[in-house]
Symmetry: C2
Subunit: 348 residues, 2 copies
Amino acid sequence: MMDRRFMRESARNFKPYYSPTSDGSLRLDTNTNVLGPNPAAMDALSDLSDAEINQYPNTYSADLRKVLAEFYGLDPNNFVTGSGSDEILDVLFKTFTDKGDRAVMPFPSYSIYDYFSELNGGVPVLIDLDEEFQLDVDSMLAAEGKIIIIPSPNNPTGNAFRRSDLVKIVEGTDVPVVIDEAYGEFHHESFIPLVRKYENLIVTRTFSKAYAMAGLRIGYCVCSPEIADMMTCIRIPYSLNMVSEKAAIAALRDQDFIRSSVDMVEKNMPMLVEGLEALGFKCYPSNANFVLARSPIDHKELVKGLKDRGIMIRDFGHRRLLENCVRFTIGTDEMNIRVIEACEELTR
Amino acid sequence: MMDRRFMRESARNFKPYYSPTSDGSLRLDTNTNVLGPNPAAMDALSDLSDAEINQYPNTYSADLRKVLAEFYGLDPNNFVTGSGSDEILDVLFKTFTDKGDRAVMPFPSYSIYDYFSELNGGVPVLIDLDEEFQLDVDSMLAAEGKIIIIPSPNNPTGNAFRRSDLVKIVEGTDVPVVIDEAYGEFHHESFIPLVRKYENLIVTRTFSKAYAMAGLRIGYCVCSPEIADMMTCIRIPYSLNMVSEKAAIAALRDQDFIRSSVDMVEKNMPMLVEGLEALGFKCYPSNANFVLARSPIDHKELVKGLKDRGIMIRDFGHRRLLENCVRFTIGTDEMNIRVIEACEELTR
């Protein structure tokens, strides 16, 4: 009988990831770009006639890493790419933690960190954020992890962490410190330039959020050449396909769409927040393209009611410190009005 | 100082994967399809205008798994997809081996197996093939692995293993037995139908070889729903991007190109083999789209000489049991003539 006894012990109670059926709903549950596909990437995809898809792609994405280096004024050896930043995260735990090693991360935060840590045999150590969802720096450092991972802006709380706190953590340890800037484009304050200063700093980025290319699975990290070399030996060769690499290069070279996407979020967030607060929601401050809100009615009822009205948001109401909280991706004006009207029906 | 002390112990001596510069050379080193890109896939790529690349792809490739199920007369729950079959292989070791667990595989074989096994904390146990490059069934079973992995046809030797030997291994153990059919299309004898009979059998396949889509990174495995469920909890969500999923579906539905690719290899292999043997090479029997040959001159000299003449082949001459051996992908008539002429210059 084939059952979970045959599985790696640390993964035996794992379940599949969030995977709802969408059937045409408005997706405000995954923080993708609501303005639609990245136009420069679509343009690159419109002529693939000379793509030699019978050949393997660049083993380690040499072309994309060259363009990333130009974009950031760094060297190609400061970059590692992956099939989504999720692959980068998996590679990080696989590179720097062994069975039983502690991986330190804030709570509440992106749940894939503890999943990848456990999956790779590690022991996730979750350090509670304070009431303002800011870091407990001393506890993060005292936890003695073999790796520390912190998203900023944080998901699902939305806030960026204080720069001085992050610096204290990077300076306070020799182990690799990962700052996951999946929502970094919305925050205007990146740790990427500091990889030249801190050998143990790793900043991860994705093309899935502001860049509007989640469907193509492209992520990367920026770090010292020493760390990049270690990760390169661990990541799966060829993992970034050649079509996505081409699209990513085109998208990086056209920043107008990114700027207007970020502008749209900044412009529209206040309206959504005010609308929700007028209905009794408590919204938390956000530096990203989404907002966490404590619902005035039961979170399950709210999420189901919105789904019935063709709007998907993400439910976090069952998690400790996030009791009755849900997460809304910031939409266009039209989308936000639709969200507020639907919430009004459900809360009155 | 950031150095390899911070790395997972089992990976500290790892090096980056085979990644030569090709600069326009004829690539007969990676066993990709020499007839060029898969035409049905290229057709699918020619109109991506309705691809919503800003959204995430199917979390677990539901569309491709449905078409695979129709193609093989199985259920979507018999399939797990990945970004190349390399991701599938990585997931297999991560699912079924824990730190210190033995993974049994033949030698010589595909070197990525022992790499992934070690990377995921396991202990690869390599069991020598006999003089005809066939399996030592008793030793494979006696090695007490938590997983057994066997490519058939084998790479780089080229031969398929005896069906009866493979059946003995699958029946002789309760642990998962992986038969890697990366070159399965060239062999006409698949273990895929047997996943209904053997709950511990997993067959892996790729779109990188006969399907001529290596650049898009698509692989899958066929297995019992129980195993597929475990692997689904382990694999990275969304790892197969939406463009590759679409291209794979189109390619599966058009088998003409696959048939002509397989026919071309069968037709052209004898000419290449005879040409090489006339020059003093010893060629080993192959059921795949490549041939392993023992060189009459020093392997390094041969590989470098061919590279200087714009032809890349793969060097295995430094490996035990493969002393002075190299591997040629079977080319078109024209390519094979070019190869033989270049070898003639080098060996005379």
